[in-house]
């Protein structure tokens, strides 16, 4: 049995799904990205009558995807036995280690800095869109960004933050 469709949601689905999946891939990893994105799109449809006219719809999706992906990532880490080592190749292991470090460093940032970094670098929003989404000026976004990246560089080293920016 198929469910009733909404034409405007059908039209927006591909673009928004891609945003959610991109954020989820960077935060939770490729194996969970599709599931996270599908969950986010479900939530978007639940509020679609109000969301569809928002000027910062993509930003909304990115924020929800970031939260959901971080939850999934945290849950997965908890389920992993301490000291467990599996037959992962070195590149994959490095990637996971990098993501763990980045997520932990992100979580330690003050709330506003964390929001700005998530929207700018995980969702690839412009400074202007980030400012609109958070109700800040572009100048404030730049300032929060600079401070956040500085704090993360101090915690992680320049190479790791380059991964985030790149």
């Amino acid at each position: 049995m198929t469910v009733r469709h909404d034409e405007s949601f059908d039209d927006a689905f591909d673009g928004l799904f891609a945003v959610a999946e991109r954020v989820a891939r960077r935060v939770a990893g490729p194996s969970d990205a599709e599931d996270v994105a599908a969950e986010v799109m479900g939530r978007a449809f639940a509020r679609w009558s109000r969301l569809k006219s928002l000027p910062y719809l993509e930003a909304w999706v990115a924020r929800v995807a970031f939260n959901e992906a971080l939850d999934v990532f945290t849950r997965n880490r908890r389920r992993q036995p301490a000291g467990a080592t599996g037959p992962v190749d070195r590149d994959a292991g490095d990637d996971i280690a990098m993501r763990i470090a980045l997520n932990e460093a992100l979580a330690k940032l003050p709330r506003r800095q964390r929001e700005v970094v998530a929207l700018r670098y995980l969702a690839d929003l412009s400074e202007a869109d980030t400012a609109t989404t958070l109700g800040l000026t572009v100048g404030s976004v730049k300032q929060h960004c600079r401070r956040a990246l500085q704090a993360m560089r101090e915690r992680l080293g320049a190479d790791c933050v380059f991964e985030l920016e790149g």
């Binding site: 469910v3 591909d14 479900g42």
Partner: protein
């Protein structure tokens, strides 16, 4: 993007999830933290089934009334709870363990006085295998009788849960014990029945503030006027409470005690509650409750400010500090409950 078939599959999945969330929202209140409790009150989805009644008489005791009745078991955030429990609570914090759980917010709901008894609608979640818990109650600070009526209920998404009606013969401090599946793991807590709640306390509870654990200087209304609350969030939910702001500013201008509450949500959805109190000496006390912010300091901070900066207008109603920028503040310090 995915293949057309996969794309259709994901789109279908999003629709199904979206419709399920919509249905869930239709029968809940706007406050997720109170949703489960209110649902029980409606009883709309209760499935007809023989109820399971228990009555317990309590022998009068000489125990003196404790200054604080509410005793809450360890609270589990939804992200740390089993997935089925978190889904049932719609992401709100829960208490319980193993097979028996309830919503944390249910402990804050006040019983209704009706026909000489106090009634409290109370939700439970029993994990598979589904069943009804046995619920007992005893009054801690005097005599009283307790009665419970327990029924199976089913959410629109097919989740089974337990709707109970708890009846207390007297107001006072009551201890509730529920048992299910493993009788050695009871769920026990204490609630104040028939307690008078101020408008400020009521408002704070709505935002998940555990009033009994908060600093009295922040949450005791005393003779202050309660001017209302304002919620900030990204998106259309934000609303400036102009009447509340005016009330507070006038109180400040005339050196009358008043309280105004502002709530903003973190990106994770955790409320950060700020309480502004204007004092008779013209000062402003500002309290910030970050105990619910998973990535915050999780404490109460307080500061005293000398003046209130007034903005003349705002082109951006999302800027919560409009009209309420407290200035000349002392450094924030931790305030204990």
């Amino acid at each position: 993007m995915q293949s057309p078939d996969r794309r259709e599959e994901l789109l279908e999945r999003a629709y199904r999830r979206g419709y399920a969330l919509r249905r869930r929202r239709q029968w809940t209140t706007t406050l997720a933290t109170l949703a489960v409790v209110v649902i029980v009150g409606t009883g709309v989805f209760a499935v007809a089934r023989p109820s399971d009644d228990h009555t317990l008489s309590v022998v009068p005791t000489t125990t003196t009334a404790p200054t604080t009745c509410l005793v809450v078991p360890p609270v589990t955030q939804a992200v740390d709870a089993p997935r089925d429990v978190a889904d049932w609570s719609i992401g709100a914090p829960v208490v319980g363990s193993a097979h028996l759980w309830t919503a944390r917010s249910a402990l804050d709901v006040q019983a209704v006085h009706d026909s000489n008894v106090w009634r409290l609608k109370f939700p439970w979640f029993t994990r598979l295998p589904f069943g009804l818990p046995q619920i007992d109650g005893r009054r801690i600070d005097g005599p009283g009788t307790f009665h419970s009526d327990v029924n199976k209920a089913t959410s629109p998404d097919g989740t089974d849960w337990v709707a109970s009606s708890l009846e207390f013969s007297e107001p006072g401090c009551w201890e509730i014990t529920a048992r299910y599946y493993d009788p050695t793991l009871p769920l026990t807590f204490r609630v104040e029945i028939g307690a008078k709640e101020t408008a400020l306390e009521h408002a704070l509870r709505r935002f998940g503030v555990v009033v009994n654990a908060a600093p009295p200087s922040a949450v005791d209304l005393g003779d202050a006027k309660f001017c209302g609350t304002e919620t900030r969030s990204v998106g259309p939910e934000s609303a400036v409470n102009e009447a509340g702001r005016r009330c507070f500013r006038e109180a400040f201008d005339t050196h009358r005690p008043a309280v105004f509450v502002m709530v903003e949500y973190t990106v994770e959805g955790d409320p950060i509650v700020t309480i502004y109190r204007s004092q008779a000496d013209g000062a402003i006390d500002k309290f910030v409750d970050s105990t619910q912010d998973k990535f915050g300091q999780r404490d109460w901070q307080g500061a005293t400010c000398g003046r209130l900066a007034i903005a003349s207008s705002s082109s951006s109603p999302n800027i919560v500090s409009y009209g309420f920028a407290a200035k000349d503040c002392s450094p924030f310090t931790t305030v204990s409950g």
